[in-house]
Symmetry: C2
Subunit: 218 residues, 2 copies
């Protein structure tokens, strides 16, 4: 995210907009430093400097470095939970729903300004402050599991097959680390196709992809 | 790895065996600390203490912390390269070869004493001292790519499909983080089955799995 000046943006209050912008500047600076220099090696002082803020302003928004990590990681999951919520309100075959969710999720992880999925393997993930992120990620995984079950994968295989589907989606973080300039759209299409193969739904065709994309558009 | 006392082991020289044991003790202690406390948060002093060695002995084996990381990570790839080399010398259909490689690779990553695949996303991976690990991992990925090509995946899809196959195999590190007591054998079988689905080889049957396992046994 580039720092915005707010030009041309309607806003209720200059102070509120400036607070929101400061929060976003902290998250952007932290995303860059956590994925570049590493989480443990990054101080809140370095984040404040990179964000162009005083440390006191940073602490106003985030009491600790773990709170910044939590906010960043929740942002990698919540939009996909919103997509899942939208899909659940629509009538569509399971294949189109599963394709749409995987496609949107890989796009989110693959095109966020920083490769935040690379932080999923940090030891700090088990900290109490990351409980909400863990719960939201577990909820997203449950949605994948219910779609994989609806696709007909039998109960005794469901747990591992869901692990594989979820792992395939999240593995975009490893690909992105190796290939910073990857073609996210092509990876999202091929990834969603592959999720359908893992769910035993066979080879997706252009018609299924079109109807899945239409589900995401309304 | 438990620290061994060497009892009952044939060995050429007590000094050589003791050096080898010291090296293994360092790697084991570092694997535990890097995956538990984190790479950046772990000092060579802490590794030496955990290994029951003086720091001078540690430096005799590894001039720097990055050299320990490099040795640990090379050990997550080299056995699978050895498996790939063994498979290349045998006559067998591509499905059995690909299944055998994925099965052995997931077993290695899933059952190593520490979850070292979780270190693949560290920023330190791009350091010059990890060049050999990166080259060996790239070589392993090339082997998967040649098998996926031999399975009939067309050239324009080959790169991304290989990324997905390799990502699926390595995603065992994420599963293991979430479920420390996972059933590695079941994950390796289901993972290898799923790799064949991604390669367009359809549903594997018991006959294919048996012949793939036989390839690993000789």
């Amino acid at each position: 995210m580039t720092k915005t000046t707010g030009v041309g943006r309607p806003r209720a209050s200059g102070a509120a907009a400036s607070k929101r912008e400061a929060r976003l500047a902290v998250l952007d600076a932290a995303g860059e430093l956590f994925t570049g220099a590493g989480y443990a090696a990054t101080t809140t002082r370095a984040i404040a400097e990179r964000a162009g803020l005083r440390q006191a302003s940073l602490y106003y928004h985030f009491p600790s470095k773990e709170d910044i990590l939590a906010a960043l990681l929740e942002d990698t999951v919540r939009p996909s939970l919103d997509v899942a919520g939208g899909l659940s309100a629509k009538l569509a075959p399971v294949g189109a729903r599963l394709w749409a969710l995987a496609y949107a999720d890989i796009h989110l992880l693959g095109s966020a300004r920083h490769n935040l999925g690379a932080l999923y393997l940090l030891p700090e993930i088990s900290s109490p402050r990351l409980a909400r992120f863990r719960a939201e990620r577990a909820e997203l995984k449950r949605v994948y599991g219910s779609l994989v079950a609806a696709a007909g994968v039998p109960g005794e295989l469901l747990g591992i097959r869901t692990d594989l589907v979820f792992g395939l989606v999240e593995s975009i973080a490893i690909v992105r680390r190796d290939q910073p300039d990857l073609d996210v759209e092509a990876h999202a299409v091929e990834g969603a196709d592959s999720v359908l193969r893992l769910a035993g739904l066979g080879e997706p065709d252009a018609g299924l992809r079109d109807s899945a994309r239409a589900l995401l558009e309304d």
